[in-house]
Subunit: 215 residues, 2 copies
Amino acid sequence: MSMAEETAGTEASPWGEVTPDAARRLLLAAVEAFAERGYHATTTRDIAGRAGMSPAALYIHYKTKEELLHRISRIGHEKALDILRTAARAEGSPTERLAEAVSSFVRWHAGGRTTARVVQYELDSLGPEARAEILALRRQVDAEVRGIIEEGVASGEFDVPDVRGTTLAVLSLCIDVARWFNVDGPRTPEEVGTLYAGLVLRMVGAGEAAGAAQR
Amino acid sequence: MSMAEETAGTEASPWGEVTPDAARRLLLAAVEAFAERGYHATTTRDIAGRAGMSPAALYIHYKTKEELLHRISRIGHEKALDILRTAARAEGSPTERLAEAVSSFVRWHAGGRTTARVVQYELDSLGPEARAEILALRRQVDAEVRGIIEEGVASGEFDVPDVRGTTLAVLSLCIDVARWFNVDGPRTPEEVGTLYAGLVLRMVGAGEAAGAAQR
DNA sequence: GATCGCGCTAAGCGCCCGCTCACCCATCCC
DNA sequence: GGGATGGGTGAGCGGGCGCTTAGCGCGATC
């Protein structure tokens, strides 16, 4: 009832694919609760209550509380991967594509902080098989960013001595936005995205070549 | 019994000041448990068991489970602040001091990943008053790093359009090391510290001035 | 308009949580 | 040697947890 405006601030929350309606409401309630208090501190009674249902209703749509987290995590990672893939496979130089990848990835983590928090920080609460599935998605995320950086190195635009380490650092920087970003703070997701894209280009040495060309 | 080698790998864990001995063993057990499973998923029975004591023994030394987390968090933040202060107030140019600050801060997060994880990621599990106290320490941490960057801008060594935002990004980058660093992984804390110091110097535009001077 | 099936609820099971309490046993002071 | 002190234990409390089950209301079907 109070979460109807969810579609407004966030960039088109990807929960549209979840059906039926009651299952989606429960998932949305779980995302909110997990983000606020963490998975283990959230009770099934709390989730059901936020969705306006009785505790037992949850188990009609999901086998366990963990299945809720698993579904949230998979959908979230797929969305994150989709964002990076779109940026990585767009037209343009590695510099342009890296900037777009970072800024859109950061925008997602800042704007959809609620979801991103759960997706990025509750991984350990999953069981072994579910975690393994999510880790495979993470490896694809890493490969996507590493690909852009490698292309930039190959083209001479970037100067990166340690590609794997720098990829790790870039992703780490973006992901941690979900931890500290505050919706009531002074910065919009767009501003943070722009700031971070600039910082990352410096990290890969993209400014130097551009600067040298200008001189 | 199995945690006697704690002093080996880690850089002189700061728990020496905690007395008596039983209280320190409980604190150490709590750090391990909180880092592995999170605060809410850890039971007092688990903590006491790791320390080789009965569940009731915990309440002789600590009023509640939360007091354990509070103590860990305060000691950890004080140690982190101490590390940054030492680097910030050393002799040398802003470039040298920023590099030393980042590399030592990162070494602490990687080497003492167990402690750092609890310190950096379980803040929300504290009550309002305890959290407020810790947040004050965090503001001092931020001010220390911002100070170095401001000096570098003033001296012309750095080129930083957004000092507050860049400070945030630098700290975020360092802190997130505690999330992904793996002791069994390919990198030592020293290597990550060196890598990150280089990346941060690029973020503040320190390479440019040096590069320009070399040309 | 009776039947069926599905989404949902009320009630509650068994378990384990944080925490307490009555008591134990070394050590130390006199 | 007797008594106080303080770190420690075993048993257990009230309560809240994840999850189950019996049954209810209601729209679709014929």
